[in-house]
């Protein structure tokens, strides 16, 4: 067993924590375009480059579409690659996100989650990355700056695993995490370098009949990003599903292994539960709101209410079995979504959670709470009301209202 390492305590905001973790991960190429609230990440990283603290090739691109294209290309040559974006920037990358995952390029991207226009809004909600649900990227959402630091380090290990070989988004709530100064413990440089290790490559069969590492190499030419029509496209998509399945296992392994050197773990890496074991009512949430909810659960528990929280840390791949095991005995569940699907049936996470539980013999009652859009504040006092609603549902077994717009003036 590895020994827990001595760590340095700093005051960092989420963006700085991400930049610092990237610096320690021995990244070869960073191509990015700044956008609020991600800006600090790339500003801080470009400082490291300017000061000669890293050997990274830093590419200033003219747009996010170009940034993702540069990252994809660099990654296919075998370079460890990182970028960061948010909101409109992520939306502009949309096309290249699919090309990157389809090309199995393990690019790591931090997304400082922000609302999408219109109306123009720079504040935090998760509409941007939720809209990229089907882009084939692994999606991990963090609760605080410490987890942002830890998750970036873990992300390289997960994405670059030969069985996974998929790009990964680490989502941190805009401003709430990205710009808020917190106490962050950081590992020594060499420990991170050792943990992340050298990039690994899956083996592929080329047209010359050679089985070689999957990277652009003049000695072993291969055709990348080719044409695949009715006869083969489907097969390659199915392979991506398998990469996601492998990621479920890898995320848990990396979470466990990381806890050995850092002393920190986030649930099993997929879901992070709090007081859920005997809970009769529970809230499912993604991101920083989980921290506030845990405080409320403590209050409720002291009053004898059996309340719990499940933070969905890994949204893609969706940990279906883990969700079923954790939630099947709960009587009433509220799923909180910090994004909206106009015309849809509740939020994106709500749909996934209810879907995962649909075939259970005894199904919990589930309601959707859309909240925090455009950075709207959600106070602990307000959040308590969600548990009150759940208590009523658990007692009566009756859902009065399926979809709630929480914190909206009505």
């Amino acid at each position: 067993m590895k020994e827990q390492l001595k760590q340095e305590t700093s005051a960092l905001n989420g963006d700085e924590a991400v930049a610092f973790a990237t610096k320690q991960c021995d990244v070869d190429v960073v191509a990015a375009y700044p956008i609020t609230p991600q800006t600090i990440i790339v500003e801080k990283f470009s400082e490291y480059v300017a000061n000669g603290e890293v050997k990274t090739e830093y590419v200033c691109t003219e747009s996010e579409h170009s940034a993702m294209t540069a990252c994809l290309s660099a990654s296919l040559t075998g370079a460890r690659t990182f970028t960061a974006s948010a909101s409109a920037g992520l939306a502009l990358m949309h096309e290249m996100l699919f090309v990157t995952s389809g090309s199995r390029a393990p690019v790591v991207m931090a997304v400082a989650n922000r609302a999408l226009s219109s109306p123009l809004n720079i504040h935090g909600d998760q509409s941007d990355s939720m809209a990229e649900r089907d882009s084939g990227w692994i999606q991990i959402y963090v609760e605080n700056a410490q987890e942002a630091y830890d998750s970036i380090i873990q992300a390289f290990r997960i994405a670059e695993d030969v069985g996974v070989s998929l790009p990964i988004i680490v989502g941190l709530d805009g401003f709430t995490i990205s710009h808020t100064l917190e106490k962050v413990d950081t590992l020594p440089d060499d420990a991170v370098k050792q943990f992340v290790g050298e990039r690994q490559f899956p083996m592929v069969l080329t047209h010359e009949g050679k089985t070689v590492p999957f990277k652009l190499d003049p000695q072993n030419p291969m055709t990348m990003g080719p044409f695949a029509l009715q006869n083969y496209y489907f097969e390659f998509k199915r392979q991506q599903v398998e990469g996601m399945k492998n990621a479920l296992k890898k995320i848990q392994e990396v979470n466990f292994e990381y806890s050995k050197i850092s002393g920190r773990s986030y649930g099993n890496g997929l879901i992070d539960t709090y007081q859920l074991e005997d809970a009769e009512i529970a809230v499912v949430v993604v991101g920083s709101t989980a921290g506030t909810l845990k405080v409320i659960v403590d209050q409720l528990r002291s009053e004898g209410v059996k309340a719990g929280v499940l933070r969905l840390r890994t949204f893609r791949p969706l940990p279906v079995e883990e969700l079923q095991n954790a939630l099947r005995n709960v009587k009433a569940i509220a799923v909180m979504d910090k994004s909206i699907s106009p015309g849809g049936l509740g939020g994106a996470v709500f749909s996934e959670i209810r879907n995962a539980l649909y075939n259970e013999e005894v199904r919990p009652n589930i309601v959707s709470f859309i909240f925090g859009l455009g950075g709207r504040d959600t106070s602990p006092r307000d959040l308590r009301k969600i548990f009150d609603t759940l208590t009523r549902i658990a007692k009566t077994g009756h859902i009065e209202k399926e979809i709630h717009y929480f914190g909206l003036r009505e």
């Binding site: 199995r104 990348m224 080719p226 083969y232």
Partner: protein, 96 residues
């Protein structure tokens, strides 16, 4: 799907090609064909340099230019660039 085609477990990831494109004709769907007038052609090789597909080959040993219609997509760049207008784009039925 024919049984000769590989399953998702058998193909290399990300669509890496296990066969060379030399045997895969990409020029069989063109509309227009470049037709060269040998009287006008000065063998200046402008068309060889401009062809984006590498489908026009210069054979120095024979002193000849050859069009590879298996790969020519009929884009017409050669006809456009030819300084002596020796190449014209024609529908296959016009050729006769």
């Amino acid at each position: 799907m024919s049984s000769k085609e590989k399953t998702w477990k058998e193909v290399s990831i990300a669509g890496i090609c296990s066969k060379s494109s030399v045997g895969f004709m990409t020029g069989d769907w063109k509309t227009y064909m470049p037709i060269r007038d040998l009287e006008k052609c000065t063998t200046c090789l402008t068309c060889v340099m401009f062809c984006p597909e590498g489908a026009i080959k210069w054979r120095p040993e024979m002193g000849k230019i050859e069009f590879d219609f298996g790969f020519c997509k009929g884009c017409g760049i050669c006809a456009n660039e030819c300084p002596t207008k020796a190449i014209t784009m024609k529908l296959p039925e016009e050729e006769e």
